[in-house]
Structure formats: C-alpha cells, structure tokens
C-alpha cells in the first residue's frame, strides 16, 4: 500500500481521490485569502474621498498582455494534461514546457511593470491604491512562482513516474493544473479591478 492511499482509486466515502479533494479544500482557503484582500480594496476605495485614476497610474497594455499570456498558459496546461492522459509523452512535454514559458513571461512582464513604477517613485507606501496593487499582484506572483516550481518538477524529475505509475502521474498533472487555473482565475479578477475600474 502507498504511503498516501487513494491517489489513483476513488475513496468510497468521498467519491474522489484524496489529491482531488485536497486541492479543492486548499483552493477554498485560497479564495478566502484573496477574498479578504479584495474586500479590503473595496472598503478602502469606497471609503476614500479621493482615489487615483488607476488606468492612468498603471499600464493597461502590459496588463492586457499578461492576461493573454496567463490565459494561454492555462490552455497549454490543460493540453499538457490531455497529452499525459492520452499517453503522448512528447505532446505532454511540449505543452508543459509552453506552460512554464507562459509563467516565466508573465513574471518578466510583471517585473517590467514594477520597475516602471519604482522608477517613477511609486511605491506601496505612496498611497492606499498602490499598497493594495503591490500586495495583491505580489501575492499573485508568489502563487505563479509556486505553480512553476511544481510544473518544472512534473516536467523534469517527476516524469520518472510516467512509466512506473502512469495514472498517478496523470492525476498529479491534473491536480497541478487545477491549481494553475486557479492562479489564472485570480488574475482574471485582478485585471479589471486594479487596471480598468
């Protein structure tokens, strides 16, 4: 018996594998983490007598580019899972590699954005909006990095499981994908809230 039971078989009382239930419980806690920051944003903005023009302070074209990059990396992630589930290793490697590339590009664009702000003397201490902007996007970037670490493992040393226990490997890719798509979902809300409103 594996150290972790029900990694590939359905647990009778939940109807799910343990990793599947585990990732959704984890994401539920993540929703509340980001939810608390979104509600802080709403509270501070509605209570402020003046609020900066967000779309003039931040770069909408760069944020739009990052939205396209992250959505693209989400579709390459699900294509990587489809490649793994259908037993096509080269297809899996191609799309998982593209997903990693998408995450890296996202972080590069984010770094360009941050450096532009710093060069104009805009810091988290400048005003409440920038404090929220750096906190929300910084926390999101940490999540992107965490997802990239897991994806890099699944593309590199993790592929040893491909032949040894293929179904378990495919489940790992699916769980990593669910997390990666959640990171995309968070950005889908951050984009209009921070850049467009």
């Amino acid at each position: 018996m594996d150290a972790l039971p029900y990694t590939t078989t359905i647990r009778p009382d939940t109807g799910l594998t343990n990793p599947k239930l585990g990732i959704w419980l984890f994401l539920a806690s993540e929703v509340m983490l980001f939810g608390s920051l979104f509600s802080a944003y709403a509270l501070l903005r509605t209570g402020a007598p003046f609020w900066p023009d967000q779309s003039a302070t931040l770069s909408v074209p760069l944020a739009t580019l990052n939205t396209v990059i992250l959505i693209s990396s989400s579709v390459t992630m699900v294509m990587a899972w489809a490649g793994a589930a259908s037993g096509k290793l080269s297809r899996y490697r191609l799309f998982m590699g593209l997903t990693l590339l998408g995450g890296a590009l996202f972080l590069v664009v984010k770094a360009i954005e941050y450096s532009e702000k710093f060069s104009h003397g805009l810091y988290p201490s400048t005003n409440n909006f920038l404090a929220l902007y750096f906190t929300l996007t910084g926390l999101h970037a940490i999540h992107v990095i965490a997802g990239m670490i897991v994806n890099a493992y699944l593309l590199g040393p993790g592929t040893r499981m491909w032949t040894r226990d293929h179904l378990r490997f495919t489940n790992r890719v699916e769980i990593a994908g669910i997390y990666w798509h959640f990171v995309d979902v968070v950005w889908i809300f951050l984009f209009p809230v921070l850049y467009l409103l």
Partner: protein
Amino acid sequence: MSAPVPTTHAINVRPYLIVFGTLLTLTLVTVAVASLNLSESTTVLVAVSIATIKASLVAVFFMHLRGEKPMVFWPLGLTAVLFAALFAFLLWTEGDHLFGTKFSDAFGSAPNAAPVEGGH
C-alpha cells in the same frame, strides 16, 4: 476498492480551444468597455460580470468542474457563502455612505439637515 481505471484514454481538446478563444474575446471586450467612459457603476458591473463569466468558463472546463462529484461542491458552496458574507458586511458598513445618507446619525446631524458640502 474501485475497479482499476484504464491508464490512457483519448481526450477531445476541441472544447478547450473554443473556451480559449472565448476567453481572449471577453478580455478584449472588457478592455473596450472600460475605454467607453461609461459611469463608474456601469463599468464596475460590466467588468466584474465579464470576469465572472471568464472565471466560470475556466472552472467548468479547464478545472473539470463539469461532471465533478458532489463532494467537491460542498466546500466550494461554503466558500461562496463566506466570500459573499465578506462583501455583505462591507455593504452593511459602507451602505449608508454609498447610497448617500451621509452618515447623518454618526455625525450627529439633525434628521432633515441639509447635506454638508464637501462631506463624504
């Protein structure tokens, strides 16, 4: 213990590509609507509605919520209630302010006093 599951099976990727195209289109629609100089409340409503549609598409198709077991939806339902409560308390706190009653009681104004110019 359940019966063994086949280790590989063909996946139809066409729905994922359709969702991808829809997400890109909705992103452009969001940017276009934000540039129309509509009222703030209208822009918020449209932008957040489009974001919710996009997030739902990702959750249903990419995160495989479509056809998922009920045990997944119980914690998500509870999370949705708590998430809504966060914003309900916010509205409760800020509602007077947002809808123009100007904190008259909090600032000790007479019930029918004229609003103070330059106030919140």
